[in-house]
């Protein structure tokens, strides 16, 4: 019986919504249900009965022609994601977000370690017996040792989601049944996310407080940045992991950032990100290796982050008009 209902739901989903349509749909559903019961009473098996009922439905275009309705053209026979697949997608997105959060955490930890080791070396607390050049490069090596597994994690999480590429590209449909489930669960999930966001933001603010506090103790001033970065690493991990489930729900529902229109915007933003971030990395490495400014050149990342965030907000605001 559910099969018949979802069959009709699928046919009517892309048709204009009106009272007339609702009435027609429920009328046809009654008929199909009664026909189904009649077939079952005559000793037909469930699958047989469903097959016959659906084969007797006919062609919706015939009816639409008569009613003077043209079906909306956005349905290019996209695959329908069922409940099981959707739940798998959500849990995979969650797992991937843990991998990405770990990766980002590792990179921030690496930068923190870089600053920490540089400071220690500068004070001659470590690497005393090494030549001056090695003192400069060893902390950088430490950073890269952490960047390697981080990048590996990014790539791995990407390949895990490869199977659901069609969902990421918005080329799918979901049943109204699944839509209802997702819609009913979304509020409690976003509520959880906002609690995590509050914790993350508090950590970020608190990290600045800690930075200022440590800086005021003159001998440890430079280590303040290390502590701040560690705290930010935790905060960013919280942001990434807590956003994964609500984001995957929104992706399935095609709402908020996942509306087909917004996705086009994201392509532009993505393209800009693809240029800006590698440039930032180049500046970072160039300043480090050429001018030996490792202790300060990391600021290029927060600066890029803020500028990029500003650009994104501005772009969205202009496009929204």
């Amino acid at each position: 019986m559910e099969t018949i209902k979802s069959y009709l739901d699928n046919i009517f989903r892309n048709l204009p919504k009106s009272k007339e349509m609702e009435r027609l749909k429920s009328e046809i559903l009654y008929n199909m249900e009664e026909r189904y019961n009649e077939l079952k009473d005559n000793g037909k098996l469930e699958n047989e009965a469903i097959g016959i009922v659906i084969s007797e439905f006919g062609n919706i275009d015939e009816l639409l022609d008569e009613m003077g309705i043209s079906p909306s053209k956005n349905n290019e026979n996209y695959p329908v994601v069922d409940n099981e697949e959707a739940m798998e997608f959500v849990s995979l997105k969650k797992k991937a977000s843990y991998l990405i959060a770990t990766g980002v955490g590792l990179i921030l930890l690496g930068v923190s370690l870089l600053i920490f080791l540089s400071q220690m070396a500068e004070r001659n607390l470590i690497f005393q017996s090494l030549p001056e050049d090695a003192k400069g490069t060893l902390p950088v090596i430490a950073l890269f040792l952490l960047i390697v597994p981080a990048v590996a994690l990014f790539i791995y999480s990407g390949t895990k989601l490869e199977r659901f590429k069609f969902i990421e590209e918005g080329k799918f449909e979901i049943s109204s049944d699944l839509r209802n489930i997702l819609n009913s669960e979304l509020p409690s999930i976003t509520q959880k996310q906002s609690i995590h966001t509050i914790i993350g933001v508090s950590l970020c603010i608190f990290s600045v407080v800690v930075l200022l506090a440590i800086v005021s103790f003159e001998p440890f001033a430079d280590f303040g940045v290390c502590v701040m970065l560690l705290m930010i690493a935790v905060a960013v991990s919280i942001f990434i992991t807590s956003g994964s489930v609500p984001d995957s729900y929104k992706e399935l529902l095609k709402i908020d950032d996942y509306k087909p229109k917004t996705q086009k915007q994201d392509k532009v933003i993505g393209a800009v990100a693809g240029i800006v971030w590698p440039i930032a990395v180049c500046i970072f490495l160039f300043c480090g290796f050429v001018f030996n400014l490792w202790h300060i050149c990391w600021v290029v990342f927060p600066i890029t982050g803020i500028l990029f965030g500003g650009f994104t907000a501005l772009y969205k605001a202009i496009k929204a008009d």
Binding site: E27, I28, N31, R35, G58, N59, E62
Partner: protein
Amino acid sequence: MISSDVIRGYNDTIILSLLIEGDSYGYEISRNIRSITNEQYIMKETTLYSAFTRLEKNGYIESYYGEETQGKRRTYYRITPEGIKYYREKCEEWELTKKVINKFVKEMVHYGNN
């Protein structure tokens, strides 16, 4: 099973003939068509409802909500005087069509026997 192409022009006539017997609703009409023809003709849902839409638009039938039974409120159809008139015209047309087509069908049989 009869090909729906052949019978298309007479779906409306079939439905009207059943409504002359009394007001009825979608499922009952399609079930009656099935039983009268010994399941040799099964009218598809979309064919049935496009016929209802067309007949109502032309003023040959009227629809109204029936009494609620088992939580279901069905749409009933009633034939109008124009509908009865149209039905008679279609019956005459069919008699003529039958005569005309039969001439050719018989000639074919005759030809085939030679």
